[in-house]
Subunit: 200 residues, 2 copies
DNA sequence: ACATTAATGAACACTTTGTTCGGTTATATT
DNA sequence: AATATAACCGAACAAAGTGTTCATTAATGT
């Protein structure tokens, strides 16, 4: 029986496959990567791959789950610290995290084949954001925009900023990006939640 | 020589292929549709397909270019009518257009394989929106958010709303969606362009 | 009616996929 | 150090898709 540890061979194989995928994603789009490519680069038998993962997507997500959890933490902390200094720290850190891990994470942002990934990210974030918005909303008051839409909009805004930023070689600093994010999102949250006059 | 018209056979074939793709996209994701599927459904020889289109994407875009042009018109008209009644009419019409053509256009919104399409849409829109923003910006004044980012954000917001709306079976009316769009976007445009106090 | 142009469908070499299975090697345990 | 176990290997497989070629047939415009 295994000592709650995994066979070293398994770890080695998984890592080889993992690294192969990452390395390939730096070169071409996820869509265009074949399992053949992966096992070639990983130096792993065909049957071995299928012993570990049923599909390419399964591999992707097993690779990405850690990243997902980390990204989620940033949003959580963004929300939790909102009272004092509205989210400044953690969104900066989110961008910094991406910048730091750009080599391994960049493939995920490359055109196409990113849908799957970002759907997951958004689903993660939506939970926390929705809760946050509800807590902000004065009781008994109808928001001008349905909460589900506002939530979706905020998640999407972060994701779009991240995508754009990576795609444009991170030409602004994380701090700037954070600032831009707040400039885009805070006014509309205020406006939706408070009964600001609609204005002409 | 052809009378600037196309051979009837060509039209017939193109249409058959076109309809095959549309019909397949109502059933499964674009990614999962093979050329084999298409020629089977279209009842068209393999070589015939390749005589017309080099790739599946080429087919997609030839199908979609008309839609693109139409969508672009809505944004143009949104911008042009902004002075009097800020964009109300044409964004409603945009959602109505989608609703009307949902059978043929819905496939494009189905998860995955939409990146290609929406990149095109966004590129189209960005041109017009950027121009619009520049015209709004008082001369010599620096916007709080770079224009390219603000532009991207507005395009993305419409696209996300459209996607979300279609994905959720168009559960709100086009007029409502238009209202939500404005509630999400106008406050942040105002805030970015005018030197509103940043507020605490 | 006739020359032109398009569609056909079969054949092709090629790649990818997912599975199977007997043989080999690394591993943990004793 | 010996051994049972579990993991890897790799070759082979059928099945499906890709993109091209080509000789044959049919529709079209004039």
């Amino acid at each position: 029986m295994k000592n709650s540890e995994v066979d070293r061979r398994v770890m080695k194989t998984r890592q080889a496959i993992h690294e192969a995928l990452i390395s390939l994603m730096e070169e071409k789009k996820y869509n265009k990567i074949t399992i053949q490519d992966i096992i070639d680069r990983a130096n792993v038998g065909r049957s071995t791959f299928y012993a570990h993962y049923a599909t390419k997507d399964e591999l992707l997500f097993s690779n990405v789950e850690d990243s997902l959890e980390i990204l989620n933490q940033y949003i959580k902390s963004y929300i939790e610290h909102d009272e004092d200094k509205p989210g400044l720290i953690s969104v900066v850190e989110l961008f910094e995290h991406i910048k730091e891990h750009r080599k391994t994470i960049k493939g995920l942002f490359k055109e196409e084949g990113t849908d799957l990934f970002f759907e997951k990210v958004e689903a993660y974030w939506n939970e926390n954001i929705e809760e946050y918005i509800k807590s902000k909303l004065p009781r008994g008051q109808e928001p001008k925009v349905p909460i589900e839409i506002l939530t979706m909009h905020i998640s999407s805004t972060i994701i779009n900023l991240l995508k754009w930023w990576v795609y444009n070689n991170m030409s602004y600093t994380p701090t700037q990006m954070e600032q831009y994010f707040r400039n885009l999102v805070n006014p509309c949250i205020d406006s939706v939640i408070n009964n600001h006059s609609e204005k002409s």
